[in-house]
């Protein structure tokens, strides 16, 4: 397995008029191809900074971020544009990257139909439920066929019921499309139910305090929550997050 994303001794400093803030220090980790890695950390530890660094939107103050391949970024809210239909929303990254050939559009549409958005393509986001909107956001992220998905707490804006369902959905879609994913979350159970590997960040400045390989294999999220090993992992991670 080759690694697709590598953080090497990354330090990141935020500068404002009032001073500077060390957001991350000597942060080192990697993500291998086909892996689902979850990163959890105490709130305010710079999780979103980390994703921006991974996506190349921020440059590290020291150290290096190396990546092979293209990114798809999924945010907390679906951020669908309300003036565009679902179809046009899904085409947005293709338009931005100027890759809107009929074949590529058809590929994105096929993906939308495959995952149950076929009837909603001409609808506007406001006409969809929160869960369907987040699904549309995932299809939009997948439209450009990215090599690695960066997921920034993508379920946190949903109510609990929807959240479990969408989590199940997204896991199934990501596994069946064989994507690499890096999930950032503050929700321990979400991390355990989705990931192959969990990294625990320290409080600011963020660095990797603990790393665990989970042994659930291909068990889907809801089944994992019922798995005997689930509560053990939960306790371990809980303690590591609250030392």
């Amino acid at each position: 397995m080759k690694n697709i994303l590598q953080f090497q001794d990354v330090t990141y400093i935020y500068h404002t008029a009032h001073g500077e803030l060390l957001a991350a220090q000597n942060l080192t980790f990697r993500v291998d191809e086909g892996e689902f890695v979850a990163i959890i950390g105490p709130s305010g530890c710079g999780k979103t900074t980390l994703l921006s660094l991974a996506a190349g939107l921020l440059k590290p103050s020291e150290g290096s971020v190396e990546s092979r391949g293209s990114f798809g970024y999924m945010l907390q809210k679906d951020e669908l544009f309300p003036w565009r239909t679902i179809e046009k929303n899904i085409f947005l990254p293709l338009e931005v990257k100027r890759r809107h050939s009929p074949a590529q559009k058809e590929r994105a549409l096929a993906l939308a139909r495959k995952y149950g958005l076929g009837d909603f393509l001409k609808s506007y986001p406001a006409q969809l439920s929160g869960g369907m909107r987040q699904r549309a956001a995932l299809i939009r992220t997948l439209a450009t066929d990215p090599d690695i998905l960066l997921l920034d707490e993508p379920f946190s804006a949903l109510d609990y019921q929807t959240r479990l369902n969408v989590c199940e959905d997204v896991a199934a879609i990501i596994r069946s499309e064989k994507k690499t994913a890096l999930l950032i979350t503050h929700d321990i159970s979400e991390a355990i139910s989705l990931a192959d590997r969990v990294l625990v960040l320290s409080a600011r400045p963020a660095r990797v305090a603990h790393a665990h390989a989970l042994d659930f294999g291909d068990i889907p999220p809801l089944k994992r929550r019922e798995h005997p090993a689930f509560s053990g992992w939960f306790e371990t991670l809980w303690r590591e997050l609250n030392p």
Binding site: S52, A55, L57, F71, G72, Y73, L75, Q76, K77, E79, F81, W83, L92, P93, E95, V96, K97, S123, Y124, A126, Q127, T144, L150
Partner: protein
């Protein structure tokens, strides 16, 4: 999706609503009739001097004579043209300047104090300068109209551009979008409602600007009639021109509301 078979209760609800609307309109028109009637009565009975108060019948006669000597539509046309030209220039220029300021944060910072001062300055203070620079023709009044409207148009649009959801900008950036793409695909479409409200505000500003301009310097127009009527104590003329101004402003407002309905309908689903 129209459901034509309502429940009886819904039919009663609709009927009640229609009745209420009709009542509101009847009361509105009666209030107008009552006010005009009272006005006519107190002046006709000599309780108030019609020379100072004018009266509805005298206003009607004045407008009729203006119409008869052909100057009615001339004055209306002059004011309307000045207002519309000033409105169009202020809106287009204001929008363009707001775009520039959004584009360059440095430019925005540099110009900020100038804009604040221009916004606070009573434009009428520039009256003498405008007369000297632009003469006493319509150009001066159009310039005044632009001056009154443009700053508000700039500030209104700029705040809309700046208010674009930062998460959506982050999303666009994560897709690799450049600034032009962010502008065209995100900032402009999401500022659409603000554009419409800016047009509404600017219509009001344009009337203020054009009438103020005509007060300072003019040889024609409704503002000119009001000032002239005041100077020679022809209160009938003052009242008539004011009445026409009310009609025009109301008409233009109705047009903008109509335009808003069409534009919003197009933008929605």
């Amino acid at each position: 999706m129209k459901n034509l078979t309502y429940s009886k209760e819904h039919a009663r609800f609709l009927q009640k609503r229609r009745k209420h609307l009709a009542l509101v309109w009847i009361l509105r028109l009666s209030l107008l009739a009552l006010l005009l009637g009272l006005w006519e009565l107190v002046t006709a009975c000599g309780w108030v001097d019609p020379f100072i108060m004018s009266s509805p019948s005298r206003i009607a006669r004045t407008i009729a004579s203006l119409y008869a000597d052909g100057s009615l539509f001339y004055h209306i046309g002059v004011t309307l043209w000045e207002t519309l030209a000033g409105f169009a220039i202020a809106v287009v220029l204001g929008f363009a300047v707001a775009l520039l300021l959004w584009w360059s944060e440095t430019l925005c910072k540099v110009l900020e104090p100038y804009i604040v001062v221009l916004n606070a300055l009573p434009k009428i203070a520039l009256g003498p300068l405008i007369i000297i620079w632009f003469g006493t023709g319509s150009e001066a009044i159009v310039f005044m109209t632009v001056l009154v409207g443009i700053i508000i148009a700039i500030l209104h649009m700029l705040s809309a551009f700046i208010a674009t959801d930062p998460n959506k900008i982050l999303l666009m950036k994560s897709m690799g979008a450049n600034k032009i793409q962010i502008l065209l695909k995100l900032v402009l479409p999401s500022s659409y409602p603000s554009l419409i409200s800016m047009l509404k505000v600017s219509v009001g500003m344009a009337w203020i600007g054009s009438i103020m301009g005509e007060y300072i310097v003019s040889r024609a127009g409704l503002g000119y009639l009001i000032v002239y009527g005041g100077q020679v104590f022809k209160l009938d003329l003052v009242m008539s021109a004011t009445f026409l101004l009310c009609l025009l402003a109301a008409g233009m407002y109705a047009l903008v509301v109509l335009l808003e309905k069409i534009l919003v309908k197009n933008a929605e689903h």
